[in-house]
């Protein structure tokens, strides 16, 4: 009963998308999940964390959910989807000497507030959702973003959004793709692409 009252008060006063901050390095990820971290006084934090979600709990739940991602085998893809994933894999092989794997997948929502369109796994895999693979444009958007995470992870040991390393990696990869496309290197794959 008291826990329910505390949770209700928290929602009313702080907000229903607020979690307790335990580590400010997680702020970016929390924001990414549609929430915001709020610092609370150390003296009451331990008691509050028993009933209010912390940033770590939110992320842990999200990661557990994302673990349920289901890869869709190529043979189950429609022709257009297959065209787009093949293009993605060829681009990936051009960009990296040790390329990550690229899959089409059904990716669960990262939280109750955001959908997941693309995902990078630090094991070295890029996942593109069915929604994004439908069109060449959204496929390439996703690919650039997720490949940049791979590059960022290889260099800096982190895969994090809204950072200088990710921004730079995205810029480099997008520039490389524009060069490949402009030079006609991918023309043989583009006939069936739906932008």
């Amino acid at each position: 009963m008291r826990a329910a009252k505390l949770q209700e008060s928290w929602r009313k006063i702080i907000g229903d998308n607020a979690v307790i901050r335990t580590d400010d390095r997680l702020d970016g990820m929390v924001k990414h999940l549609g929430y915001q971290s709020v610092s609370v006084d150390q003296r009451i934090r331990d008691k509050l964390t028993r009933v209010i979600t912390t940033d770590k709990e939110l992320i842990k739940r999200s990661q557990q959910q994302l673990r349920k991602t289901q890869i869709i085998p190529d043979e189950k893809l429609e022709y257009r989807q297959l065209t787009h994933i093949k293009l993605s894999r060829v681009i990936t092989a051009y960009v990296f000497t040790t390329p990550p794997q690229v899959f089409v997948a059904i990716i669960p929502p990262a939280s109750d507030r955001v959908r997941t369109a693309g995902m990078y796994a630090t094991s070295g895999a890029v996942y593109i959702s069915l929604e994004m693979i439908e069109r060449g444009r959204s496929t390439i958007d996703t690919l650039v973003h997720e490949l940049a995470h791979h590059k960022q992870y290889c260099i800096a040991g982190i895969a994090e959004d809204l950072t200088a390393t990710h921004f730079q990696a995205m810029t480099d990869i997008a520039a490389e793709i524009v060069r490949l496309v402009t030079d006609g290197e991918l023309d043989y794959l583009l006939k069936e692409v739906v932008w």
Binding site: L66, T116, V181, L190
Partner: protein, 215 residues
């Protein structure tokens, strides 16, 4: 001065050398051809922090156990020579042992450390402690043959090889965030943000027209 210790995790024990000074921390096990089974090196840091360990000067593969506040926070198995290993989670010590010896140890396991004072303080070791030390060493000797045979027969695990900006091999430890998810809105926003929306649209538009024979 502490330069020896007994480290216990679960049912495993190691008799280890302790590295705590700058020169000891940087030298580590580098240059050594091998170490006996059941032994290793415990690196004690001056403060809790994330740490990068190099195995470049090493001559044999090792397992590395990262420790913070008396608990295992991460275990890396079969790290071969020539790697840079970065532990993202701050730790205050880490243990290097022969490869295969950290098998079964997991994050959250408690770490028991029994330090042995030597040098100027050597005389202060009580006979009881010395006897206990001998007993533990005896246990090590019994297990040594088994451990060595297991290590020799064990096939090394395959690891993904990543390369850093200077061509060095990188090996990253697990972080709390294994999956980095992105929403459709955020993906589109970041392409705009780097200034490549029009460049990508134009490049693909022209190339697709060319590929379809429209241009």
């Amino acid at each position: 001065m502490i330069n020896q210790a007994i480290v216990t995790i679960r049912d495993k024990q190691w008799s280890v050398s302790v590295a705590s000074t700058y020169s000891e921390l940087t030298k580590g096990l580098g240059g050594m051809a091998s170490i006996p089974a059941g032994t290793g090196m415990l690196f004690i840091l001056s403060e809790q922090r994330s740490i990068t360990v190099t195995t470049t000067p090493m001559l044999f593969p090792i397992d590395i156990i990262f420790i913070a506040d008396g608990l295992v926070i991460d275990v890396l198995s079969n790290v071969t020579p020539g790697y840079l290993v970065t532990e993202q989670t701050p730790c205050d010590m880490f243990l290097e042992v022969n490869t295969g010896e950290a098998e079964g140890i997991e994050s959250g396991d408690a770490v028991g450390i029994y330090t042995i004072h030597t040098g100027a303080d050597a005389d202060s070791i009580s006979p009881v402690v010395s006897f206990a030390g001998l007993m533990i060493l005896g246990t090590f000797m019994v297990n040594m043959g088994k451990t060595m045979a297991t290590a020799m027969l064990k096939k090394p695990k395959e690891k993904p090889v990543l390369y850093g900006p200077r061509g060095e091999r990188l090996l990253q430890t697990k972080t709390e965030i294994e999956f980095q998810p992105d929403s459709p809105e955020f993906l589109a926003y970041t392409i705009e943000d780097i200034g490549y929306r029009d460049k990508l649209d134009n490049a693909f538009g022209q190339a697709m027209a060319r590929a379809k024979g429209l241009k």
